[in-house]
């Protein structure tokens, strides 16, 4: 059968206008690594679900992207992560919202889909489920990056001025 994999790294605040050659190389390398991981799974006969989870986990673990380790900060200075997954064969789905201590939210979303009768869990309840399902929990400090922290400080400053410098700014 045919097998194909497509990934995205989000609607980034970093565009070619403000991207150095080193940054472009880093983004390209990260996307390529993720693709190779997923491709290897599909090539060896693995499932699309396994490929999707593996690809996203790699991007979550990379601080370049606004997911997992590179998550941006909320107004109160915390990181809140959301994720979802869906199986096209069964139409089963799983999602988590507002989790703060789960290293790979995509894996938790899959656990919600496969190990619970529910579709979505949120906040502390989702984290409790993660522990019971054996999903890796990390300290909230794991998600902090200087880039994201500075992004929050800039946003707070703009908030206080009640004006946005760029109407297309995505804030992550």
């Amino acid at each position: 059968g045919n097998y194909v994999l497509v990934i995205h790294g989000g609607a980034g605040t970093i565009t070619r206008n403000n991207m150095t050659a080193d940054m472009e190389a880093a983004y390209t390398a990260a996307l390529e690594s993720s693709l190779k991981k997923g491709y290897a799974i599909l090539q060896s006969g693995g499932s699309s679900l396994d490929a999707v989870e593996a690809c996203i986990r790699m991007l979550e673990d990379d601080s370049l992207f606004n997911a997992g380790k590179g998550a941006v900060f909320t107004h109160d200075g915390s990181n809140e992560l959301d994720a979802s997954v869906m199986d096209g064969k069964t139409l089963a789905a799983g999602a988590v919202a507002g989790v703060r201590t789960v290293r790979n939210p995509i894996t938790l979303a899959r656990a919600v889909m496969e190990k619970s009768p529910h579709v979505m869990m949120a906040g502390r309840g989702a984290e409790q489920f993660a522990k019971e399902a054996g999903i890796e929990i990390v300290d909230t400090a794991y998600f902090r990056t200087e880039k994201s922290w500075k992004g929050l400080q800039r946003a707070l400053q703009q908030d206080s001025l009640k004006a946005l410098a760029n109407p297309d700014t995505k804030f992550g």
Binding site: V4, A11, L35, A67, V72, D82, V85, G88, K89, A95
Partner: protein
């Protein structure tokens, strides 16, 4: 936000999306990423979709499911359906993009804003990375 859609050798589609949210968000705001049918959807009869962008508009347009429905009920191709749903997002004032992969392995990556990172790998081993703009 990051996302992935895949088609395996058995013909099964899957989609996933993960996000760190929105800088400076308040009140426990939730975007489209964890909302099935808005930011993520997969159906073996049609397509797998993962979106990224201004979540409120993706939720209001039920973007990922809408793309699938346009293919299933109207017979649009994945490229036509993708373009249609992103136009709907833009017409309401939202921005973003998505990746979509149909049951035959045809892909679409429509968007209406800059800062888009994309990648694909096909059966023949070709890997493509695209950064716009």
């Amino acid at each position: 936000t990051v996302g992935c859609v895949a088609l395996d050798k058995q013909g099964n589609l899957a989609a996933g999306t993960s996000t760190g949210g929105m800088t400076n968000k308040k009140f426990g705001r939730i975007g489209d990423s964890p909302v099935i049918g808005a930011g993520t959807y997969a159906n073996n009869n049609t397509v797998a979709v993962s979106g990224t962008g201004w979540g409120e508009f993706y939720i209001r347009n039920v973007v990922a499911y809408d793309l699938s429905a346009l293919m299933e009920y109207k017979g649009l191709s994945v490229q036509e359906a993708g373009k249609t749903v992103i136009k709907k997002v833009g017409d309401l004032g939202g921005n973003g993009g998505l990746i979509a992969l149909d049951k035959n392995g045809n892909m679409a990556m429509p968007f209406n804003t800059e800062g888009m990172y994309r990648g694909s790998a096909t059966k023949d081993g070709r890997i493509g990375i695209l950064i716009y703009k």
